[in-house]
């Protein structure tokens, strides 16, 4: 578990580099990615399916990204984009294509639909995360900025 967490953090860091995240935010990005992966793994361990686990993980990622965005005065996209990649269903796309080529159509369809389910769960996770009112997060932002200017998400 510790090793997994460590690898997830490193992978997210690599993505932060690929997306040209400002250097001073690398650390927060990576921590957010590791957190997402941990929630995903814990949720799987509790017996939830892959789509539901993805939902929990993206929800966590989005909320933490918004908190960080308020605290660090950065667009929340900065923290969200790199972190979300640990959850994107890359294996689903691969297996769907693979079974299709191998002419195992029922397996291919099953994998394809599962991939869409995971993508849908990620969508829902982000939407739930975004639905909370910005004013809650602005209050956090005032901890680091006395003026309390209204922030963009």
């Amino acid at each position: 578990m510790i090793v997994q967490l460590f690898v997830a953090v490193i992978s997210t860091l690599a993505f932060a580099v690929l997306f040209h995240v400002p250097k001073q935010e690398y650390f927060y990005c990576a921590v957010n990615g590791g957190l997402g992966w941990m929630v995903y793994k814990l949720s799987l361990g509790c017996g939830f399916g892959v789509p539901v686990s993805s939902l929990w993980a993206t929800l966590t990622l989005t909320l933490v990204a918004r908190m960080l965005s308020a605290l660090r005065k950065m667009p929340s996209t900065v923290f969200l984009l790199a972190g979300i990649f640990t959850l994107v269903p890359g294996s689903g796309v691969y297996y769907t294509a693979y079974y299709l080529i191998m002419n195992e159509l029922s397996k291919s369809t099953a994998k394809g639909i599962e991939t869409f389910k995971i993508a849908g769960a990620i969508v829902l996770g982000i939407i739930f995360g975004l639905a909370l009112p910005q004013s809650w997060f602005n209050r956090l932002g005032r901890l680091t900025d006395k003026k309390g200017t209204s922030e963009k998400v």
Binding site: A8, V21, I101, M102
Partner: protein, 265 residues
């Protein structure tokens, strides 16, 4: 908040605001962020009567002075690479403009500075891609041994992507060739008899091609009511996913025809 009485040319303000918006949009900003930034910058310099319309690949804006048309601007913004550093920079600039601590001239200078920020060296990007491939290979159940090969394939993939982007190869072709290349490399390792889980290596390698950014931005745009722009992004995500599947499928098929037989899963 026009604190000073100095009168700016509306056209200059419009140009600044739209240029900032263009920079945001080009580097992967969401629609509402672009729209809001353009609007706030204009208002900060005292322009009240304006209209801005932003879609994923274009900005349209007009300003009026005393009810008369004082200028309009259309910018075509092709979908580009993600550069969050520039987005953060523009965001900071717009915040300072709104606080009234940045003159128009200063703002132009800062914008140029932001535009010309030295990009990350390619070598770093290539290395990052290798690390990321190896990491995901491991996370998805690969052994450290698999990860080593995933790392090498990831390095080569990003080198290919960087070279392809510089030569303006179409994104679709890059995705198909990139995923086919990763698959072929991994299957070759399997073919020469190494004890590797080729599927884990492939998945680790293609993660970097996955349309995660387009998916997230598409959702955010749709969530804010910009259905048109969100649709463009989501369509982009779907097509990219299909391209990756095509590339993987083609490589697997060729391997099969060459006599590799069924692969282990």
């Amino acid at each position: 908040m026009p604190k000073s009485k100095e009168q700016h040319n509306s056209k200059e303000i419009l140009n600044l605001a739209v240029s900032m918006g263009e920079e945001l949009l080009k580097n992967g900003g969401e629609i509402y962020r672009v729209q809001e930034t353009v609007g706030r910058v204009m208002e900060a310099y005292g322009v009240r009567d304006y209209h801005v319309f932003v879609v994923t690949n274009g900005i349209f804006a007009t300003v009026h002075e005393q009810g008369e048309d004082a200028g309009s601007m259309v910018r075509d913004v092709p979908l580009g690479d993600i550069n969050l550093e520039k987005i953060a920079g523009i965001n900071q600039l717009s915040r300072e403009i709104c606080q009234g601590s940045c003159s128009l001239k200063e703002a132009y200078r800062r914008l140029e500075q932001c535009k010309n920020a030295s990009p990350m060296r390619d070598a770093f990007l290539v290395l990052a891609c290798g690390v990321e491939s190896a990491g995901f290979c491991f996370l998805l159940g690969g052994t450290p041994f698999d990860s080593i090969f995933s790392f090498l394939l990831g390095l080569l993939l990003q080198a290919f992507l960087v070279a392809g982007t510089k030569r303006n190869v179409s994104k679709f072709l890059l995705n198909i060739l990139g995923s086919a290349w990763v698959t072929a490399g991994s299957l070759m390792l399997y073919g020469i008899g190494l004890d590797v889980q080729s599927d884990r290596i492939i998945i680790g390698g293609i993660i970097v091609l996955m349309p995660g950014v387009a998916l997230v931005t598409g959702i955010r745009d749709s969530f804010n009511g910009d259905y048109l722009s969100g649709g463009i992004r989501l369509m982009d995500a779907l097509l990219t996913g299909i391209c990756i599947a095509v590339g993987v499928g083609a490589a697997v098929k060729v391997f099969q025809l060459l006599g590799g037989g069924a692969l282990p899963i």
